[in-house]
Subunit: 213 residues, 2 copies
């Protein structure tokens, strides 16, 4: 499938935000520094935020991502994406169905879907989807409402089952991202490895290098 | 301002849903019974629900509201409104700004705004707004994150300050709704007085009669 121009993206190093892990530095400043280190895609994720605050954070993030040509996708919230003109939405099994997301966002939006098992992948409506978030590859303390880890074997099985770009997430750090890429990931996503880093730019640079991509 | 056809509504008896208060009877069945008792407007409110579940509940509610010509508005979530084709959105100070809501929902949607003080009303962007939810008129255990109660005096001051329809909410029951209407409310909104009622149809009938509207 030929992607619309607006849906081209580089999945190599995907940063998912977390306001708690960002601490007093804040999400926007952390992302700004991480972009300097080579982050290629940003997802705003803050399920606890009220809508007004989420819109404000999204608008502030766009001011640092857009001049650098880096897409910003919003976790779960099509309304926030549309309100600020962000680049896409990332959804999971308990969020809006991908077909509805695509209908509301239009053809130019990037639509990502979290997949936790091979069965879920087989049952998913992938037509509207631009990439898969394979989650969690390893156990992670960042997100505790997940199923068992896929492992590298599970990641490889997803790889064999779809031609969509796969972004691996869950328990990834510089020491294990290469293995995830070798198992079939087109990119790796992190939360704490960058959001909680003392130096987000350096952390991003090291992670990107470690992928071998 | 002439309302678009799709934005005509009767604010007399406005039901705000609550899945906990509905109990095992469920939100949809409670609303169905309440509509039989004369509810004129329904708001789906469930800030804890995940988006997929909220869309499903909204779609199920539309199946009972639409055949009766009763509008369904969604608390906070423009995305859910657009996904299911509901009739409008109700927002508060921490939700999406009314101007953004109107831009995303289009001219036919009903847009409601919660107002808790006269100062908030004066500062609000009311151009995109179809009605005010004056909240809370009286102290209420249903919603604890509110400011001090407006009281009937505060309600009367809001009435004097705007020509928009005002729906009073907070601590209302058959014994005090008439006083709220006499203070200037065009309609009254309830949560527990109907959602938690043993007989939602009877509760709605009694409330509607008690308003004197």
């Amino acid at each position: 499938m030929a992607l619309h121009e607006g849906r081209r993206f580089d999945p190599t190093l995907y940063l998912v935000t977390d306001p708690v892990l960002a601490g007093p530095r804040g999400v926007v400043e952390t992302v700004r520094q991480a972009l300097d280190g080579g982050v290629t895609l940003v997802q705003l994720r803050d399920p606890e935020a009220k809508t007004r605050a989420l819109c404000e954070t999204a608008a502030a993030l766009l001011e640092v991502t857009r001049p650098r040509g880096i897409p910003l996708v919003i976790n779960d919230r099509v309304d926030v994406m549309l309100a600020v003109g962000a680049d896409g939405v990332h959804v999971g099994a308990r969020d809006m169905a991908p077909g509805l997301v695509r209908r509301l966002t239009g053809p130019d939006a990037i639509v990502g879907l979290s997949i936790t098992t091979l069965e879920e992948l087989a049952a998913a409506d992938l037509g509207p989807v631009d990439y898969i978030g394979a989650s969690p590859v390893h156990a992670t303390p960042t997100k505790t409402d997940t199923g068992p880890a896929l492992g590298l074997d599970g990641l490889a099985r997803l790889r064999a089952a779809t031609d969509l770009p796969i972004v691996a997430i869950g328990g990834l750090h510089a020491g294990n991202v290469r293995a995830a890429v070798e198992a079939g990931a087109d990119g790796i996503a992190v939360v704490s490895a960058i959001m909680a880093a003392a130096d987000p730019a350096a952390a991003a640079l090291v992670l990107r290098g470690a992928t071998g991509l």
